[in-house]
């Protein structure tokens, strides 16, 4: 079984967890002990600090830049003001922020859905057949090595300057990790499960749907996580080049002409928030819950 990212050990937490009590016999400085007593929720405080630090850095950077150069570098406050304006319905490049977000998500979802459909089914086949794997895995590996932006000319040649080009870019960059992880997952399914299934009269189709697919699910989910991140990143870049009038990436690049840098920062913040929410809020918990519910201490 190969080790794919995020499937073997526990992944790092989104937020720092409260520390476990120090083991007996470990020396603790008195100052630290005092701090512990005064601060009953170190976990929450560290989480707040973790958010405050980048904000403070951002603010400092904005101050320095504006001092050195005559540009309006948006501060977190400026960005917040622009955000609340946009949320109240102010237009950005002729459309509301909701339209931009919705269009971006739609393009991403279409591309990702294509990648999942093609990636999971081909991963199942590649994990199943040594021959297919040997024939196709080099292509998949190369696919993974191509930087997302390098697909721009290909996308334009295939689809023209058109949202479909963006969808293609999302799909093609999300595809490789999904295929690779699904393949690894299928190969990791214990042969004894296959024997048991055959003994209980399973046909090939049953084997795929009811043994290999669930058996590779922990790997598959970590593939989806990586694929999501790839696709989401390239979505923004794709919209910058081939987007047509809407989308978060398009809005960011338009700030070059409109000089509405605060709006660009708003878009960047929204991209981060959506990305974090999907990755940490949906995909990672799903992956963990699967591993936990099945009691899968998967051995090599």
């Amino acid at each position: 079984m190969s080790t794919s990212p995020g499937s073997a050990g526990p992944a790092p937490d989104a937020f720092p967890q409260p520390r476990a009590p120090a083991p007996v016999g470990t020396h603790q400085p008195p100052a630290l002990r005092l701090a512990r007593r005064l601060l009953p929720w170190p976990g929450i405080l560290t989480a707040i600090a973790a958010l405050a630090i980048p904000l403070a850095l951002w603010w400092g950077l904005a101050a320095i830049v504006m001092h050195l150069r005559p540009v309006a570098f948006p501060t977190p406050y400026d960005t917040y003001l622009r955000l609340s304006g946009l949320l109240r319905g102010q237009l950005l490049n002729d459309f509301t922020i909701y339209r931009h977000v919705a269009d971006s998500i739609q393009r991403w979802a279409l591309g990702f859905a294509l990648a999942v459909g093609i990636g999971v089914s081909s991963g199942l086949l590649l994990g199943w057949s040594r021959l297919l794997e040997r024939l196709s895995m080099p292509t998949v590996t190369v696919l993974q090595l191509v930087p997302g932006l390098a697909w721009i000319p290909v996308a334009i040649l295939l689809f023209g300057v058109n949202p479909r080009a963006t969808i293609f870019m999302v799909g093609v960059t999300a595809l490789a990790p999904i295929v690779i992880n699904t393949t690894a997952g299928v190969k990791g399914v214990d042969e004894m499960y296959l024997r048991a299934a055959r003994m209980m009269g399973a046909e090939d189709s049953t084997l795929f749907a009811r043994v290999l697919l669930p058996g590779s699910l922990p790997h598959l989910l970590s593939g989806l996580r990586v694929g999501f991140a790839n696709g989401w990143r390239v979505l923004v870049a794709g919209e910058m080049i081939v987007g047509t009038g809407t989308g978060l990436g398009y809005s960011i690049i338009q700030s070059r002409w409109t000089l509405d840098y605060a709006a660009a920062f708003v878009c960047i913040a929204i991209i981060c928030i959506i990305g974090l929410t999907v990755e940490r809020g949906i995909l990672l918990p799903l992956e963990r819950r699967t591993v936990e519910r099945w009691g899968l201490a998967r051995s090599a």
Partner: protein, 272 residues
């Protein structure tokens, strides 16, 4: 019911190219409704023999017949209980039992009813909705038994099913198995390296020696059932078998690595 004619099995190690003889010229017959224990030291090919009967592997030469027909593939008429629990971790106990029924095309309501019946038969009705990792080793083996019994197989093939359980659990499961066997009347081929277990369970004990020796003893156990584990005649039968085993050559190393854990053979076991 089960018949092996001059069966040999060779394994080729994919990495070293070394060829190992796991079984050589084995003849064995198991009659209908008979309980036969296949006894032998670790690595003598007991599991390989069982895998041939199950249809997981093909003999290199010779014939394996089941009900007069050559065995071509694994199937639900030969229910296998594996040494390690192979319950699907993504299914509940109940769903594990229904897995095979679904393959046989049994309808949803009937599946539910059958799985409930068999999960109760092995005394785990309260755990129908549990997942395998929540069960103890003995409970998992009982579920394995239930899931093959639910398919109403003609034969049970059991590969050291109680080998990794503690003595008390093992005794209890042996009794439970005998109960089920007496009530449901199945042909049983039971692999074990535990002499007491063989004497307690079997109508007949076949002793398998490492290749090239094959089956060196075929001893009927005529002690009437229900048997008392500690009766004198049980001790006598046990001693007789231990004497047979003591004469066997100790296992040669290469076959030890093969006999107990089946070698991965993608060409024969991976379909498609």
């Amino acid at each position: 019911m089960i018949q092996l004619d001059a069966v040999s099995k060779l394994f080729a190690n994919a990495e070293t190219g070394q060829v190992v003889q796991a079984l050589q010229d084995i003849d064995l017959v198991v009659e209908e409704n008979e309980f036969v224990c296949l006894l032998g030291p670790s690595g003598c090919g007991k599991s390989t023999l069982l895998n041939l009967v199950a249809g997981f592997e093909r003999p290199t030469s010779g014939r394996v017949l089941f009900g007069g027909e050559p065995v071509r593939a694994a199937g639900p008429e030969r229910g296998v209980v594996f040494q390690e629990p192979t319950l699907f971790p993504w299914l509940t106990v109940e769903q594990n039992i229904e897995f095979g029924l679904r393959n046989l095309g049994v309808g949803r309501l009937e599946r539910k009813e059958i799985s409930l019946r068999f999960v109760s038969l092995v005394g785990l009705a309260d755990f129908a909705r549990a997942r395998p990792h929540q069960l103890s080793g003995g409970m998992k083996q009982r579920v394995q038994l239930a899931r093959v019994l639910a398919l109403d197989p003609r034969a049970l093939l059991m590969d050291e099913p109680f080998g990794s359980l503690d003595a008390q659990t093992r005794d209890r499961l042996q009794d439970q198995l005998l109960d089920i066997w007496e009530n449901h009347r199945k042909t049983v081929l039971f692999v074990t390296h535990n002499v007491e277990e063989a004497v307690y369970l079997a109508d007949r004990v076949a002793v398998l020696a490492p290749a090239p020796d094959g089956i060196t003893a075929d001893m009927p156990i005529t002690i009437p059932r229900p048997r008392d584990r500690y009766a004198t005649e049980m001790r006598e039968a046990t001693m007789a078998l231990i004497a047979v085993l003591a004469d066997l050559p100790c296992c040669v190393l290469p076959s030890r690595s093969l006999g107990e854990s089946p070698v991965r053979e993608p060409s024969t076991t991976m379909p498609g």
